[in-house]
Amino acid sequence: MLTYTADEMMTVTAARSLRNGMTCFVGIGLPSEAANLARATHAPDLVLIYESGTIGSKPGQVPLSIGDGILAETADSVVSVPEIFNYWLQPGRIDVGFLGAAQLDRYGNINTTVIGPAYDSPGVRLPGAGGAPEIAGACKEVTVVLRQSRRTFARQLDFVTSVGFGDGPGSRQRLGLSGGGPRLVITDLGVLRPDPDTCELVLTGIYAGVPVSRVQENTGWDLKVSAELAEILPPTEAELAALRDLLASRSPAASPAAPAPVAPAPVAAAGVGD
């Protein structure tokens, strides 16, 4: 009987989405955990690129920040921050960008700036854009990882920090966004992908033991379900062991860190049998 949390399922699913030899622009938190799990398991030649300027970092543990020394010390190359954005991200050299989000809409647009309609006196002030707008614009594809709720999966964003498919088909072209946009959204309940015709995110994968109705209840719009909805295999023993090793290798004080910069959403730590 393998017991694991919803966050572990989410991280394992995210790790599986990365293919060996890809180049991956990694945000901090859960994206970094997933990317390093992929490196530790099926994708040893995954190329990790952090916005701090480290190219090809091979940390043996999950760094707390995108600027930890281990990222520079294990990198193939460390470049300046202007260079990482201008020469490496902007021209579309990076296969996949891994992003978190505070809010996401049906077109995969992302808000990490403010919650509440008034920018100048917001309900919650979030950290802001960081590297996300250009990661979302330029990577060949984008994967978003976030916990799913009616608050995070919003009908209407309070602020568009990073563009997914804008207001639907043709938006990215009109805006001159060279990358492919969000191809995958991974949550603690399942997996969403954009419909190729409408660009709207639809549920294409679901974790064992999670009913579709629960995913829909935790979505702020009328979530469509793919005709080919698949159940996603639970973590293998090897995946779980590798993930827990990775996280345990962080300093004890670092491990309880919330992956999202806002107050953690209440997440059901689903213990699911294997």
Binding site: S52, Q90, A129
Partner: protein
Amino acid sequence: MAQIVTLAEAISAAIRDGDTVAMEGFTHLIPHAAGHEVIRQRRRDLTLVRMTPDIIYDQLIGAGCTRKLVFSWAGNPGVGSLHRFRDAVENAWPRPLELEEHSHAGMANRFAAGAAGLPFAVLRGYRGTTLPAHTAGVADIVCPFTGETLTAVSALRPDVAVIHAQRADAQGNVQYWGISGVQKEAVLAASRSVVTVEEIVDRLDPRPGAVVLPWWAISYIAVVPGGAHPSYALGYSARDNDFYQAWDAISRDRQRFADWLDEHVYGRAAAGHASRSVTAC
């Protein structure tokens, strides 16, 4: 023409009330000790510029030094919110905080334009986002050759740049290595600069990945060992992740923050480093 002085002298000479100041460092080499000296010298009405304002900017905001923040990501990396920053934005405490908000790529290019003596930089970005609606210094620009529309961002030209580096030599050449961020651009974009260093050595041995800023491009250098703490200086110290975690609780409460500031910043001399022993508090 680098002058080697004390930290108190450097801050006093370089930074005036109302200045625009960029204290840069991308997680690595953040000039915390210099920031504490700014708080101690009770500078006011500063416009603070930085891609990733974190704890030291949270302190400068909470201490009331700051009128405006120019930034692209304001958080406690890997931990969560900056509570003094949020309190200022959400509740105007201890005073209102004006925001000028960009993306990382935009800020990096704004510094680069400043370093290059250009009034603007060009990039692919911002289009389709809400950012331009709330941010001056972003405009469409059309390529004169292809007709394509791109984005222009205005150059950053701070009055002062403040950075921390591993070493300087006696002539004032500054050397740092590891994650090098946007510090070169910040120093070259600014009118004046303050560099705190771990040590001064006779001669800067070449090091892999090292950036060297020549003495004639620097204004003031002060020796402040551990001056980046709780950030780190590769080869000299490790990042104090425990302090970043602890800051979350310290900064959530106004009184606890004020007490911390009294004990660890106001209560210390310029030469000592404020947050060294904070994990014990």
